[in-house]
Symmetry: C2
DNA sequence: GTGTGTGAAGTGGTTCACAGCG
DNA sequence: CGCTGTGAACCACTTCACACAC
């Protein structure tokens, strides 16, 4: 079944919200309530949830615990993904320590950096290799996803080397450039400066 | 004139690309070329650029330098925005040091943290205040935008306190929660964990 | 001939409105 | 009755296709 990107984005948010509600002990929730908490229209919530079968109770709402489990199953991974992170600067380290980044769905198997002080060491329990060895290590460890947190100038090069290994299926790019990758590689970009620029642009436009 | 969000996003990317081309000394560029480099359709590029008047030359393409200046003007700020950053953890510090974050368009005027080791000090040249003083400092310094890089559990509280000052018009949220803010406050969210979850979800779906 | 600018057509996602079930 | 589930209407953005300027 085909499922649109914005829908997946919202599913992840429903899931996060439900985690909270479970913790708070709330038993039942309506599309109305969920919508208000996440700033979505109630009809949007219902449509999203209906894609995966009738899960709510008419006249009542959604059973929090049940819905939470349901969405967990939709988002579940068939297995643990193997991830490599390239660029152990401030941002890279921030990600490593990030709580929302501890997940059963993947494991960060290798770090890469150009800094000789870091190469050969373990950082937060994960071995750091030279960026020159990306292809080899990625291939050896069968890494399927790489996270790029290097400066923009190095990002394309890093991506190319990682893809050479032939095992990489997805890239999460934090560098402020748009990468070129083959069509069969999934690419997600988190572009912090673009986000800020957009915000400032619309602020300006509201002012006027 | 109304201009859509996806268009602004692309404009920022054209701008970045053109900076490169200017540096490389390229004189002329076609919608075709730009599209290839950024993975957009050429027609998309042309439509985006045409919103702001005829800027290209038919049969030739776009004059790189001229187009770069043109988009600079579109994205320009009327004045320097005053920004506060709440949460000087790894991510906050990463942002402070981030090169793509040095801009003429804004200045980070204040930092906030709960860590007493940081409060009262200057960090990367910017004074750090107690998170308890957000309302007061934001009001005093007339801060218009706040960047939130605190843990999810604290984010809504921080946002509420900043908004109390009455000067905040926009929020850039990095915490993995969806904030509730009044309708007249612009909200941009950079949700790293959602982005990764989405990537993994679509990886799974391609596998099957 | 070549590449832009743009109305018109197409696509995909959101919202409505109401039937249907608990 | 109340709230879900969902086809249909709507809306926004993208892509096409071609006239037009260089």
């Amino acid at each position: 079944m085909k499922i649109a990107e914005p829908t997946v984005e919202r599913l992840v948010q429903y899931h996060r919200l439900l985690e909270q509600l479970v913790a708070e002990g709330q038993k039942v929730v309506s599309s109305q309530e969920m919508g208000e908490m996440l700033s979505f229209k109630a009809s949007q919530v219902r449509k999203d949830l209906s894609y995966f079968g009738e899960i709510g109770k008419r006249g009542v709402g959604y059973h929090v615990d049940r819905l939470h489990k349901h969405i967990s199953r939709i988002l579940a991974s068939p297995r643990k993904w193997s991830i490599g992170l390239v660029g152990v600067g401030k941002l890279g380290e921030a990600l490593l320590g990030y709580k929302a980044f501890q997940s059963e769905k993947f494991r960060i198997e290798a770090l890469f950096d150009v800094d000789t002080d870091k190469i050969g060491k373990d950082i937060q329990g994960i071995p750091c290799y030279s960026s020159d060895a990306i292809s080899e290590v990625v291939r050896e460890k069968k890494i399927e996803v790489i996270i790029i947190t290097v400066p923009g100038t190095a990002a394309q090069h890093v991506a190319d080397k990682a893809l050479q290994a032939g095992t990489v299926k997805g890239i999460l790019n934090f560098a402020p450039v748009s990468l070129s990758v083959p069509g069969d590689v999934l690419l997600a970009a988190v572009d912090i400066s673009v986000e800020l620029e957009k915000l400032l642009f619309f602020l300006k436009h509201k002012d006027e």
